[in-house]
């Protein structure tokens, strides 16, 4: 339920427009990194950077064949995205997780102050 806010976050990965374009492209099936770069009109280096982020969060998987790297969609990360789309319920579930943690912090702080 709790979602960490790091660069390895699925949601961060999907928040970047070029990476969303890559995911959309891959819906049609496996593609070589060079084909993706060509399709998006991106430099090979930035394409590979985006692909690395997507791979790290489990949104794409990679397969080496000869000198080419082939990418396809991976359901592992997509499942987390699927779980995220809870709208209002998710908003409050996470807010209340945070509220609970924060109130705990306040409580400890006040106990410390009372003791000190």
């Amino acid at each position: 339920m709790a979602r960490a806010t790091t660069t390895s976050d699925v949601f961060n990965a999907i928040g970047e427009p070029q990476r969303r374009r890559i995911l959309t492209l891959l819906r049609a099936g496996e593609l070589a990194a060079t084909e993706i770069a060509e399709e998006l009109d991106l430099a090979a280096s930035s394409t590979s950077k985006h692909l690395r982020v997507l791979r790290e969060v489990g949104l794409v998987r990679v397969r080496d064949e000869g000198r080419q790297r082939y990418y396809s969609l991976d359901a592992t990360g997509l499942r987390q995205v699927h779980e995220w789309t809870g709208g209002f319920e998710r908003f409050w579930a996470e807010s209340l997780d945070r509220l609970e943690a924060y109130v705990g912090e306040l409580q400890r702080k006040e106990e410390d102050d009372a003791c000190g």
Binding site: L73, L78, F88, F91, L96, L106
Partner: protein, 163 residues
């Protein structure tokens, strides 16, 4: 079939959320009364909140912006309707000053349960359609909604195929 006229039933227009928090209700209530506190917890993980105006009194407003993890900005306006420390808060919420056609009202109750707090949020929308829309889309980062919808549909296909 009977044609229902006028307003839809309240239970079809509301969302109720409850949570038991192991802290006294005075403290839980206090976490709602100051932007310094609210900004520390209001919103899902990855969201940040910036307060523009904060007036904690009936008729006063909390005007703030929420920033989604991809930088999407959500203007927000909460007007406090009723304040009964440490038992109850009632507020009207809308997306910024000019969004009052989408406003909805929430009542938060803080019930003492042997030193812990049972928090209940009851939000009433104008129509069932508004409730259903908010239930699905509230806090979803705009730029990603389309992709999310398409990808979640795709996950369903993958799972159906046993992938």
């Amino acid at each position: 079939m009977r044609v229902v006229e006028g307003i839809e039933r309240e239970e079809d227009r509301q969302i109720v959320t409850t949570r038991l928090i192991s802290a006294p209700r005075e403290l839980v209530f206090r976490a709602w009364t100051d932007p310094r506190h609210l900004e520390r917890w209001f919103g899902p993980y990855g969201f940040t909140t910036t307060t523009r105006v904060f007036e904690f009194r009936p008729g006063g407003v909390w005007e703030f912006e929420m920033h989604g993890p991809d930088g999407t900005v959500f203007p927000n306006l909460i007007e406090w309707v009723e304040i009964v420390p440490p038992e109850l808060l009632r507020y009207r919420q809308q997306g910024g000053r000019d969004d009052d056609q989408n406003a909805f009202e929430t009542t938060v109750t803080f019930a003492d349960r042997d030193g812990a707090t049972e928090l209940t949020l009851r939000t009433i929308f104008r129509t069932k359609a508004q409730r259903d829309y908010v239930a699905e889309n509230y806090g979803a980062v705009e730029g990603a909604i389309e992709t999310l919808a398409r990808l979640t549909a795709y996950v369903g296909e993958l799972e159906g195929a046993g992938a």
